[in-house]
Subunit: 245 residues, 8 copies
């Protein structure tokens, strides 16, 4: 509901065309749809700059389909994360595309990309699913995206080689598990905002990504933005917001 | 050391004006100064967009003074965080200003501010020192800064009242301790990038800020950038980088 | 065993109708039944206001059936939580109803509901199983129950819209995972006692609900009652106790 | 700001006595006072049933005095928790009383107590400060309060002796450190709602109260309301809310 | 190898019947058998009062069979813990008995029981597997054992009823999950040494038994012996050692 | 209150010499004294085999003196743990002795020692305060005690040398910090029950004794009794109970 | 790329045989191969002393095969850790050997072994897979390896027996789970560098190897090198590096 | 006690010059001195390659002096770590030197250094105390030592500049706090064994060094040896052992 609509209501009240009771009622009729188990929020994009997105994990395929269809019908696009092929098959939404590397389903992505570039780097091969989730998300929202995978600090020459590339982007997303050192090293090589995503890659004291997360929060390079473990989607959102500011 | 300097060296080598050995030597003579206990990094600003900054905590007053003077002499400005009044008194650097609310010392801040606005909000009165650290840092680096304190979710009307203000900024820094819910609520009200800083405010299971940190990492609003506990400085850096992208 | 029965025993002792030895013996013959692997406690309802309830998890289907039948035979009602459809099928208790959304089995629920209302809110769709466990429990015990799902803080307008509804209840149960901010926000909008239930919804640093739990314990709104993770049953009990005080 | 005031504004708009712009402005002029470092919330009592309270910890004595005086002037009463004698001495508020056992300062407590009783029990002598914080808070808000200290489970006869007393209350607050078993045992003896407060009493694996907290959350007695560690204030609030429902 | 054997070697050396080299060699020929992947320790019973026992978990069925047969052949008895029915079926050791409630396999248990009694109590039905592991172990080693299950603190009358029984034992093993309060309550009712075993029963903040473990370590009843989570075997060993001291 | 006293009351009831009301009243008059902030439990020794003991930590010197004097007047002996010299000086109890190595104050210790021996070993010099707390406690309760300090596993020959000594005791208390390996090694050398006490000796990942605690709980030697960190007092109690079984 | 190659490039630049642009380009053409999802690093052996190795866990069989073949083609050898039989079957690399005890696949191991010996000890039978991973790795890299399994501290005579053997090695790898005491005991018996590897063997508070890890980090024997949990591969690398220094 | 001494005893037994009883006695008279609170171990250097060292923390100045003098008298050298200036002043040992940067006291260090070099690097200025502890220790034991401080990854050009230096050493000790990335980066640049020491430098989620520790254990560079937090002493020992293998 835009401000102009609210102003219109107030003007109707002044004119006597609308009773006070009805005005109160209409103001409370907010633009979401109630599916009883979910309240689909059609104007979130206006408020937050990112449309409502479905986290598949923890929802049944039937719930996902119902929410997704309501969204697609009203907004013309929908993004579903942490989804399996089963969810996609059950969705039966013609325009939807399944991205197997990241488990993302998208329909109706923005076609015209912004001119700014979101660069996405991963430390290892095992971090690619999370990096791809960030890439698909930022691209869906309208950002131009490039990726550079397997450039971890153990072979630092592979990384230094790409230094110029990082500085050509408007924002760099860095995805890493294990000791999570890559954002510090890339952050030390560029003046671009760095969005760091820890992954659950590793074993033992990697604690499912916690060690990488804490390493990133303690980076000696100041101003690195940190995401939850495996949250490529959040990184894609933030990168796109920064890219289009 | 700029690229043009490196090109010049290479050209001298081609011309024979510079021997191969000397070229190698010069390339390794990087623009930092060795104080034996510290290597002051004069060209970090060029590379990372933020000059090297001194974390006072864990260093002696004598070490701080020595590093600060070297920096100030070469770069014309210096920022010291987590400092006490004692450190300031011992510094004897005429141009330095002590910010008591945040424990920051600054000298030679950028005068001309960018046009974009960094908005800084705190949940409670106890979170102000960290919020002020962010404010002083972003302002030192050249951003225009406004603050709005004590707008926590317990009295949500105080917060809704400020909604327009948040949307007028280019980036919003949100500082909160205890349950750390404020970034989620502000993030749900604006389309600006939100930088969340957990603070060590609270007791018992606030775990010195850990609960607020994890709450922020798990925000149901996508794309919130999270900082280390009490890291107002990092938030100020990131906000400034985003503001001047 | 009621107090009047105890008084009767003492009077018999005084009259000499009962020997001291037998009195001691009878007092120790307490009203529970020994199934060797379980001691079914038939008078718990009198003492604690809530009858003994079976937590299915960690017990075999045969054990559950044996305990449930003993309870139903003596008390005329039984509640089983965290149960699967398999447990229900194996139970073969005619009056039992299986609630698939919550995994609760109930038989012989109180028909006449109290006039006070228990309101149950959930932050997201994934929190519904726990919210339903609370709803079925409170209803089984005799409370009138209403639910409002998917009103999380990311779309705060959905929530503000329901403010009046929360204040019409005698007690509000709030179920949320991830950053667990919903109880703080609802607690800031109403003067009703709030019972907060963290859920294991989320990934990474949601730590299976721990982050939501700690956020709720640290709420800046004073006096929120917190339950164990996913403990909808406990919330239903407490809400009913408060409702019928 | 009451609903009648809002209705009045709307009526003025209809009559043309108030311009639309001014109406919007007035609606945003909410009843809190801005002290720049704090926004004192004068109508919180109306909304949440408990007035705003000052947590002394983490605030300077000057800040506390300024907030307290503003509150007292407008609401006629004020409560300050986790305060030292120094804070009290600096407060210079004539009506204020310092409760040394709990570190609470109160001024203008409700004189007429409700008829319902809040019973407060502590496991040991070391838990008394937290129990007293609950007692002073509930009494300040208007509840009748009785206390029973040092009734821990190691000498269970001391506890069974008080069983009748617990059942005469409308709500029982149980304060315990170390293994935190007391709420389970009291909860097994009464049908009253039990509010459990873990304390930081103990050493080694008591983890500053965490062990007691988790024990209480896992109580085999269903429906126990758990508070943050050492949060006697919150327990007093919840007990009073339940008592006056 | 007994001390007398060592004395005999030394005497042979003195007599010249044994060379110094051979004496050194023989002393190092210790009474264990090398299966390459395991060194079966035949004289452990002499040294530690308990024979070597096989923890099935983490070993293949073939390894277990090989170790068990070697032990049985030399010592005439063997105990295997945390075993499945599959392990038992693969064992093909005629004298072995499988205890399904605890997952223990035993062969050649001591027939003549000591006169002292080991009493084993469990808080709930779900704790029985661990309690049974303790019971089978103590009985295998030669102790007389009695059990009392489902006597948790939620229904404390079931427990007080058994007070005399606990005091008739020489040592009491108490097995409990969730909040782990039972050892404190039983320890407060008897002067017998109490061996407490936390179990992984529970969910959420029971942390797989950690909460019960820490509660037991922090018991306000002094001198409770605590075991690792689910370590019924260790409790059986300790109880037997105390019983036969 | 002994059983004979209870029998006497019941007989008076039968004879009519005592009214039912008075009988009920008298039965609830249990043998503890109410100091308002503490309920001193005079018959605990009878029930638990160990008299009530005062943990100084968390209590004021005035509270300690008041509780200690009440205990000493009624029981003729008192033990205070984790006490400072200041507490002792303030106590003014003539018969009291201050043990500086352990911070224990004792008065009226049992003079006639049992014949069985409690052996107490410590890994390092820094573990002595906790070991001494165990030694003073066991001795106060009536056990014969010997100590062997600084026999940690880094110099295993110092330990093997004492093997015979350990086996001459009825129970061995082993006190160790850091990696907590000593109980495993001593437990592998003797058939006596071993009581393990972790200490907070160490730094970094010793986690204030947690690493030693967990190592002891995971000992590959079965049946080691584990105490809370730094709980020498509890170890002394358990050792004495086992010694006098 | 060796230093001589770089010198050659520089000389070509001086001679004018190579343009500055091309020189820059060539220097950035580093010796790795880009498979898009992985950048295979062919000169790592030169730099780090150990060739790049494939951690199978978290990679698909197709990815592993592709990386392995590229490596084998260029370097003539390849090592894959934490692999299953399925990975091996899918690999179809003729020279590859599958080591079932450790889940390692190797092809092209160094034939000529160094003269120094790497000794590898395990505490129990369940620790053998990790110990074997270390053994296969060190052997693959060219070290002579001997193993001694099941020599844990519960039967310390089995261990003392092997003392001479440990001192004959150049470096000793000690693999242990549960309380992780073995490295301390072996470290106390030899002057060789000890590499300690905690394993996830155990249950309850073994925390998947964390207890063993912390015990090893806190060893009272100074200078023990600690590896991540279950990281036999890392231990094999370090042992080989020390062996060939 | 050397093996030859043991052989001599055995020969005396054979000759009859020594009774069996006396031989047993003498063998148990091991070369340590009993100070009652400490058993000073004079032959540890022979067994472990490093003499016994005194950790000052947790010991009184008097205890330290007594142990130190005994050691110095017998071995001619002594090393004390984590000591304050007060300890040094109280020591009154003429030959002792106090190293203020590391808090180490040394007397009688080895004069002739080995030819191999131990290189010690620190990430920041705050890590120097721990780095110096390693340096003083390795030098005391007889290694040649060089240091390179403040070469953290934020300014990676400072680090690459030193690459050649690292490769000229036989072993590299890397000391770092915060995100602990430095060992990975240095480990990627050299084939020398790397010993990593996490420090407690940092705040918030640096968890007193735990984040750096876990990062180092999870390094993507294989074979890094990790020490306990702030354990510069252990790193010095291990580096010297590797250097002199």
């Amino acid at each position: 509901m835009h401000k102009s609509e609210i102003a219109a209501i107030m003007k109707s009240v002044r004119k006597g065309a609308l009773s006070v009771e009805k005005a109160v009622d209409r103001l409370s009729h907010l633009p979401y749809e109630d599916l009883s188990f979910a309240k689909v929020d059609h104007h979130r994009h206006l408020v937050q700059g990112v449309p409502e997105v479905i986290l598949a994990q923890g929802k049944s395929a039937a719930e996902i389909r119902s929410i997704a269809k309501t969204m697609y019908r009203r907004c013309g696009r929908v993004l579903i994360t942490k989804a399996t092929k089963e969810v996609y098959d059950c969705l039966r939404l013609e325009q939807a595309v399944y991205h197997p590397a990241s488990g993302v389903i998208s329909a109706g992505a923005v076609k015209e990309k912004t001119r700014g570039l979101v660069m996405i780097a991963s430390a290892g091969t095992s971090d690619i699913p999370v990096a791809e989730e960030a890439a698909v998300t930022a691209s869906f929202l309208g950002s131009k995206v490039e990726t550079e995978y397997d450039v971890g600090v153990a072979g630092i020459h592979r990384l230094l080689d790409k230094k110029r590339k990082f500085s050509s982007a408007r924002v760099v997303v860095v995805v890493a598990g294990m000791e999570g050192a890559l954002p510090s090293v890339i952050g030390g090589l560029t003046d671009r905002p760095v969005v760091a995503v820890p992954t659950s890659t590793g074993y033992g004291t990697s604690f499912g990504g916690l060690t990488a997360l804490f390493a990133m929060l303690n980076s000696c390079v100041p101003g690195i933005a940190v995401m939850n473990i495996d949250n490529g989607f959040g990184a894609g959102c933030l990168a796109h917001k920064i890219n289009t500011i």
